[in-house]
């Protein structure tokens, strides 16, 4: 079977970031917690491969460590979405048309009315800014997304014959959801997870940019862009590097998601072959 081109490109880009993050735990070119003010705002040199920022920190090291923040926030936020949204969606589908279904779906609509930025604003106004807020805000926003996708897919599986067979064996709604529905919608959830992961990276960058996410000195891509804005006249590279890093990461994840969807969806696969 031929693998989709997007999948290979997506895997490649994503792998680079995963490796960079893992590597950052054992080695970075320079220590980002040490400020070397005399070396501030240097262009790329042999010592600093991508130059230094306004506090003399190595840009490459900052990008590597910043990737941790982005990826950690996005992963936990997807985890919150899956952990709460999927069970809610399964419950709604198993009790289709019931009062419970109605409550879950209306609750979803309510959360949808709060864009993640608005949730972050609310949380930050009350608890002060931190990376945890960004995780919570993006995570809460993810819950209705996964609940809807799960419910929609589960509903179509519930009408199939093997579910009827399972019911004649006396399996209850919970066991059917866990043993038959969930494995059959797992592919879809993986694809949705990849999409939400990339949206999470973008959202985290936006939140840290406006100061609602990770706080200094924790390096984060959005924060780096906010700092770079002051120097955009003199040192545009400072703004260019974190931005292009975000683009490549998000692009990689989107391609990965598209590639996985093509791989899992036999209809599209047949067209390609």
């Amino acid at each position: 079977m031929k693998l989709p081109v997007q999948l290979i490109l997506g895997l490649f880009l994503t792998a680079i970031f995963v490796i960079a993050v893992l590597l950052s735990f054992i080695w970075t070119p320079h220590d980002v917690s040490i400020l070397t003010i005399p070396d501030k705002l240097l262009p790329a040199t042999d010592k600093y491969w991508l130059g230094t920022d306004h506090l003399g920190r190595d840009m490459l090291s900052m990008l590597m460590v910043g990737a941790r923040t982005s990826i950690a926030v996005a992963i936990v936020a997807v985890g919150i979405g899956i952990g709460i949204g999927v069970p809610l969606g399964l419950m709604a589908a198993a009790n289709r048309g019931s009062f419970l279904d109605e409550i879950i779906m209306r609750g979803n609509d309510l959360v949808f009315a709060f864009p993640s930025l608005v949730i972050a604003i609310l949380i930050t106004a009350v608890f002060g800014p931190s990376a945890i807020n960004a995780i919570l805000a993006i995570g809460i926003f993810n819950i209705p997304v996964f609940a809807r996708v799960t419910r929609g897919a589960a509903l179509s599986i519930w009408t199939l014959d093997y579910i009827l067979a399972a019911r004649t064996f006396g399996k209850g709604a919970f066991r059917i959801s866990a043993e038959h529905i969930l494995p059959n919608i797992a592919n879809l959830l993986i694809v949705q997870g990849t999409i939400q992961f990339s949206l999470g990276i973008l959202a985290e960058a936006g939140l840290s940019y406006v100061g609602l996410g990770a706080q200094p000195p924790t390096p984060s891509w959005g924060r780096m862009l906010a700092d770079a804005q002051t120097f955009i006249y003199t040192n545009p590279m400072l703004a260019f590097l974190p931005g292009i890093t975000i683009v490549l990461m998000v692009l990689g994840l989107n391609l990965l998601g598209d590639g996985l969807r093509d791989l899992f969806d036999p209809r599209i696969r047949r067209q390609r072959e």
Binding site: R106, D109, L110, F112, A113, F114, P115, S116, L117, V118, I121, L122, I123, T124, A125, V126, S198, L202, A205, G206, Y209, V210, G211, L225, A228, Q229, I232, Y233, P236, A239, F240, P242, G243, I246, V247, L248, V250, L251, N254, L255
Partner: protein, 314 residues
């Protein structure tokens, strides 16, 4: 249609009430005592109690919610603690920057996405389709605030066509105002246009597989004639959904973009208020944003029903 609209208005009111309860609970109930939160740790007890009095915090939670919610309905959002002016005045001033920005960006996104999506769909599998799909894939991955910085770098700093930020105010002429909003609107619109163009393309391609298109082709229409005359209208439903969803993203995005261009909009008001712990302003501004999202969703639902009678039943 009237029954459908009544049912939707009822659920609209319920959503608004539920959303206002959530906002009120987060801002006024969770922090415990909003007055001492707003004044910080070193505040004198007399000052705190005076502020409690001023904010009407001495009543029961239900009484406070009720007076806040009814106040909002009559346009009374309370008095800002830091600015000492009615919150409604502050918001009205700022909304005249944020709302036009979001609307211009939405229009721009539609103007770009429709032809682009149409070209990609009608030239499926050809070079132009691949180029468009590649470009939109990039467009989706670009954070709008970073794109905004690049625009400043190119058009303000290098070419000097536009100012790098700030807003002259509408009283200094429509043209000057629009000019100040041009780069921010482009920055907001392009990522959204990428999404919209892709939805447009796939929705058109989906519609093109329908039987009535085959009939149209069979009676002698070319592929692009069939696309223009029959597929276009039918493909609009998913596109409408996305446009509705995008408005809330654009409004939220406007808040971030305002920071790049130092525009005195709702976003800057919100962030300043967060720093100054002016909960009254944050509460009202957030409620207004949520209100806008719910209203737009409602309007999109009505628009569907107007376009497609089948949807009125559900």
């Amino acid at each position: 249609m009237i029954r459908f609209a009544t049912a939707r208005i009822l659920s609209l009111s319920l959503s608004l009430i539920a959303a206002s309860v959530v906002v009120f609970a987060v801002v006024e109930v969770i922090p415990g005592d909003p007055a001492s939160y707003m004044l910080g740790m070193n505040a004198e007890p007399e000052t705190v109690s005076a502020l409690r009095q001023e904010l009407g915090l001495n009543g029961s939670i239900w009484a406070r919610y009720f007076s806040w919610a009814t106040g909002m309905l009559t346009g009374d959002f309370g008095i800002s603690y830091t600015y000492r002016v009615p919150v409604s005045d502050l918001i009205v001033q700022r909304i005249w920057v944020s709302l036009p920005l979001a609307i211009i960006a939405l229009l721009l996104s539609i103007i770009i996405a429709f032809p682009v999506g149409l070209i990609a769909a009608s030239r499926r599998g050809k070079f132009s389709d691949y180029s468009i799909m590649g470009a939109t894939q990039m467009g989706i991955a670009v954070p709008n605030f970073w794109f905004a910085m690049l625009l400043v770098l190119v058009f303000s700093i290098n070419l000097k066509w536009f100012g790098a930020g700030g807003f002259p105010g509408w009283e200094n002429g429509l043209l000057a105002g629009l000019k100040a909003l041009t780069l921010p609107a482009i920055a907001l619109a392009l990522p959204q246009a990428s999404i919209l163009a892709r939805v447009m393309r796939s929705s058109l391609l989906e519609t093109l597989t329908q039987d009535y298109i085959r009939t149209a082709r069979a009676k002698g229409l070319t592929r692009s004639q069939a696309l223009r005359r029959h597929a276009l209208r039918n493909a609009m439903i998913p596109v409408l959904t996305i446009i509705g969803l995008q408005f809330s993203f654009l409004l939220a995005g406007a808040i971030i973009i305002e920071n790049v261009f130092f525009l005195p909009g709702l976003g800057r008001l919100i962030f300043q208020s967060i720093t100054q712990r002016d909960l009254i302003v944050v509460e009202s501004a957030v409620m207004l944003l949520v209100f806008a999202v719910i209203i737009v969703t409602f309007l999109v639902d009505l628009a569907y029903a107007a376009v497609d009678p089948r949807l009125r039943k559900s």
